[in-house]
Symmetry: C2
Subunit: 230 residues, 2 copies
């Protein structure tokens, strides 16, 4: 079974690695990292480079098409040739996975019209504009389309898909293998629970399309959000 | 502030990316991926390549020394020159971080003697053999040494360190940024809760030093572990 993970300049690494770490370990999985061109692809921080060993055009078909997000995905939403490649591979796939605003790339490619999908907290309105009905879930399945919320949700999403692909025993083995027994140091359970300032900073970060905004952010005292007003 | 993430052949990607995704976004952080030699470093699956842009020897000092684990770490425990580089950089660091059996590299370098540390579930006895007192925690601090449990614990560990470095507001902003509001599809809360077969498979995988064992694993029906006997 082939797993094709799509890279592009400005991807967010954990969107991709969380799913890779689970799915690439499924028995018999053949994993490829692909991009428009072969070579080193820079993540959004500009400090991490991951190698695409194959181009999208060199990939004739796949079983699992996996599209991460990141600030760089926003530019790709307007890249017709790139979106055509996603459509072409999606036509061959048994499963198509989108994580974070990578779900928006599936949407921009026209693959989610009339479907339900999740995405990252800050991207929900944009995804809806692509014709999908947005659900606020950690991961979600509509037919062969499996979508995940932001960044670290790639792990949960991949465990969900692993169970569909290989059964509960293997999926739980993979959970043990990556020791996914989370214990975050902060109490919030949902993006809505995060401090109000945190929301403003991440919105600015997303709007800036990259890493620059965070670097300029001074420390601040947090005020918990009022969920009723979020 | 400099963050130096150490790569080596056979590292486990999520050990490294979980921490990177949080810490590299701290305001003012200068992140470098380093290895014994520059170039593409293969992760344990042999399907992922990450670029080391600098060598360990070219790194004069760092503020945060970050050592992930992976099957390849076991070989490095016997690599005196590599361990000497870890000791040299640790002597310059404000914080030294080990994740998964990357904690064992710190141990093999002699940095954890008489200290408390956590590590992945399957590595606890080996870490104790390096002179550390092992605690079964998701993340743990002993003075400047911050250690994390297996693989995905890199996220929790980095959020913990982010709070120490930049305050609660920034750390919770980073939690929002990576949407770390986990909802694993399976109910277990601890490695001990995973199925008995899962334990056997992961132990074989760890013992084989790599990806081969998982690929040969047939699907199986799980039997929940009896925590009293684990």
């Amino acid at each position: 079974m082939r797993l094709t993970i799509v890279l592009f300049d400005g991807f967010t690494a954990l969107d991709m690695i969380g799913g890779y770490e689970v799915l690439a370990r499924l028995p018999g999985m053949e994993t490829d990292f692909v991009a428009v061109e072969r070579g080193t692809i820079a993540a959004d921080t500009r400090r991490l480079g991951v190698v695409a060993f194959r181009t999208l055009a060199e990939t004739s078909a796949t079983d699992i098409l996996y599209v991460p997000g990141g600030p760089g995905a926003l530019r790709r939403e307007r890249d017709g040739a790139f979106l055509a490649e996603l459509r072409r591979l999606d036509a061959t796939s048994t499963w198509t996975v989108g994580i974070c605003n990578g779900v928006g790339l599936l949407g921009a490619a026209g693959l989610l019209r009339g479907r339900t999908a999740t995405t990252n907290f800050f991207y929900r309105e944009r995804l809806a504009a692509h014709g999908a009905t947005v659900v606020a879930e950690r991961y979600h399945r509509d037919d062969k389309y499996v979508t995940g919320a932001g960044v670290s949700a790639s792990i949960d999403t991949a465990l969900f898909l692993a169970e569909l692909l290989a059964g509960t025993g293997i999926a739980r083995t993979l959970q043990l293998g990556v020791e996914y027994y989370p214990a975050p140091p902060f109490p919030e359970q949902r993006p809505e629970d995060a401090p109000r300032e945190a929301h403003a900073i991440i919105r600015a970060f997303e709007a800036s399309g990259g890493a620059a905004a965070m670097a300029a952010t001074p420390p601040f005292e947090y005020v918990d959000c009022d969920p009723a007003r979020t």
